[in-house]
Assembly symmetry: C2
Homo-oligomer: 221 residues x 2
Amino acid sequence: MFTLSEENYLKTIYHLGLNSEIGVSTNEIAKKMQTKASSVTDMIKKLSDKNLVVYKKYKGVRITDFGRNTAANIVRKHRLWEVFLVEKLNFSWDEVHEVAEQLEHIKSPKLINELDALLGFPKQDPHGDPIPDKEGNYYPLEKKLLATLGIGEKGICVGVNDSSSSFLQFLDKQKIALGNEIKVLGKEPFDDSIQIQIANRELSISNKIANNLYIKILQGS
Amino acid sequence: MFTLSEENYLKTIYHLGLNSEIGVSTNEIAKKMQTKASSVTDMIKKLSDKNLVVYKKYKGVRITDFGRNTAANIVRKHRLWEVFLVEKLNFSWDEVHEVAEQLEHIKSPKLINELDALLGFPKQDPHGDPIPDKEGNYYPLEKKLLATLGIGEKGICVGVNDSSSSFLQFLDKQKIALGNEIKVLGKEPFDDSIQIQIANRELSISNKIANNLYIKILQGS
DNA sequence: TTATTATTTTAGATAAGACTAAAAATTAAT
DNA sequence: ATTAATTTTTAGTCTTATCTAAAATAATAA
């Protein structure tokens, strides 16, 4: 099995490598993990010894199939715990991350499979991010940023781009939650703000907000 | 906050000190934790620096009020998680300990309070051990060993003395569970075995088993 | 293409937690 | 009350994960 530190590095490498064809650089990892490049080099060697990544000096790392699988399993645990915290323990979506960061390292296959069942085999976490299955596969939602919708289009709020707690708290305050139906009523060219209808209320949303909210387009809108 | 290791040592000292007036010895701790006495001495100094125990060289340690409170909180978390695993995730009582050993170190007051509420504020864990409240107080059940009951007495199975997985698995196999009503039908002087009635079945129980099962006496039996 | 800058790695140090072996203190036995 | 046996502590070493400072390599600019 892997240490806490190894799991955290692996997870970071997994996330950073998702949208890039080339290797993940030492500095990128160091910045993301708030640590020093030399520490990253040390850890990369350990992960490489355990066949979780392929490492070529000065060329960054690429995750292996084994590493990807291992990382996806940690992400699966993280996101299932987030669902549990929100659905069963009354956490709000800005409170879940920190606790899930701890819970994701608990080792017990039975625990996580039973938790999955208790929650009804959810496919997304409270931020709309997909939950990998036992094999590490997941199916990202077809989604667009609210800012890219045209006037008259409507959809369901399915996720956030920025999951900083200040943004999530803002959404809570405005009573915008996952699952809400949102319709674009108008767009203001002057400041790129957007007028929307949500749960029978009308709101004006700044461009910055609209660029951080993901919407699943409803058919026939 | 405390490290994983510090918490584990503290918990052991707490348990070993419960039924003794004098200090807990280095060797006792080492034996219980499957480690070496020298490692214990090192750790004791750290716990002492953090005011969790009082340490006098060659005289063992005594837990402080602060230490006792901290330890009781870890025990509280351990036992609440055990209830959760059995009640919500279909674990059997011999499977819960190992996972609870991990979960008890998760840091989040909200998590544990909400979990407590989800479970309906239970007072005992699946082995019948009392769950401390937020202040670290708990109320042990009035209980007797099955072996000490007289013929005709009856009570409810409320706990085990030995919680080794082999014993717990034996109980599972015999369909003896917490909450079952047990009546003593007879005692065999030759081998000190006991005949009991449990859930409309009659069973013969060896003395060794009867010395590891706690019974809450029912009034008027 | 060479010099400059940025990135990455190496070397050496530190802290936590564990170990072994030896020394010191306590307890038990004669 | 000494000696012997046991317990406990100290001293020194090891591993993991981190750091700083310096060296090596790669990328960029003149």
